[in-house]
Subunit: 156 residues, 2 copies
C-alpha cells in the first residue's frame, strides 16, 4: 500500500478562541483547564511541539464556539506564561490578549499545607508569590509552603 | 483589530502514526493511552469532533516519529472500536489497520472486584467479555463483575 496519509482538515473557526504560543508540550494541560477532557461536542484542534520562531517549539489550541472566562485565562497564564489568546468572531481575530503571570496569585489555587491558615475556617483568600515562572514554582504568602507545577496542575 | 486567526499548519508527517476514525470526543483518551500527556517532544496534532462521512463526527491523532505497540492498539480498540491505524513512512501510508474489539479481552485490564480470583495470588490472566461496545461495558469471566468505560479508563 502506498497512499497518502488521511488529510487532517483544520478549517478556520468562525467564532471561538485560538490559544497560541503555549509552552511546548502543555496543550493538554490547557485542555484540562478548559474542561475539554470532558468530551464536549465542539470542534477542537490541538497541535503540540510545532516549530515557533519566538519559542523554539510551541503548542496551540483552537476551540470553536467557546470563549474563555477570566479565571480560565489566569490559570493558563500559570502554565503557559507566553500564551496569546485570540478571540475570533466571523472568522476574524477581534481581540488579541497576551496572558500575564501576576506577581501575586490570589484565590486561584489552594495551599497544599493542611496547617496553613488559608485552609482553616478563617475568611482568608489564598495568595501565592511566583518564585519561578518556568517551571512554575509558587510560595504561599501565609505559611511559606512551596507549590510546584505538578501539585498545582492537580487542582485544575 | 481585524486580522486573520493564527494559522495552524498541519504538515504531513514523514514517519509516524495517524489514528483516524476515533469515536468523537475520545482523542484525549487515546492520547492518554499513548502517554502523550507526559509531554513528549514529538510533533502531535489532535482534532476533535470533526465532521466524518462514516461516523458523523470523529477525532484524529497524528504523531510524528512514533509507532504503536500491539498492547496500545488493543487499548485503543476498547475506546474507539472504529479507529483505523495508519503507519506512515517516508510521507506515505505503508500499512493500514482497522482496530478490532475482540469478544474476549485478555490480560489488558484488571477486575475492580477485590474478591475476584484474578486479584488473588493465583496465576490467573484477567479475562472480560464485551457486553456492549459503545459505551464500553465489560463483564469479568471469573466473578461476573461489570466494568464500565470510566472505570476502565482509569487503568490506562
Amino acid at each position: 500500500m502506498s497512499e497518502n496519509e488521511p488529510t487532517l482538515r483544520v478549517s478556520k473557526i468562525k467564532d471561538g478562541t485560538v490559544i497560541d504560543h503555549i509552552t511546548g508540550g502543555h496543550a493538554l494541560d490547557v485542555a484540562k483547564i478548559l474542561g475539554i477532557a470532558e468530551r464536549r461536542a465542539s470542534v477542537i484542534t490541538i497541535a503540540m511541539n510545532v516549530p515557533s520562531k519566538r519559542l523554539g517549539h510551541k503548542d496551540m489550541v483552537k476551540i470553536e464556539g467557546r470563549f474563555l472566562a477570566g479565571s480560565e485565562v489566569d490559570k493558563i497564564a500559570l502554565l503557559a506564561p507566553n500564551a496569546t489568546i485570540n478571540i475570533v468572531k466571523g472568522y476574524k481575530v477581534v481581540e488579541k490578549q497576551r496572558v500575564k503571570l501576576p506577581d501575586a496569585i490570589k484565590g486561584i489555587i489552594k495551599c497544599d499545607n493542611p496547617a496553613c491558615i488559608s485552609n482553616s475556617n478563617e475568611p482568608v483568600q489564598t495568595r501565592f508569590y511566583v518564585q519561578k515562572a518556568q517551571p512554575l514554582c509558587l510560595k504561599c504568602h501565609y505559611c511559606g509552603h512551596i507549590m510546584e507545577k505538578e501539585e498545582i496542575l492537580k487542582q485544575f
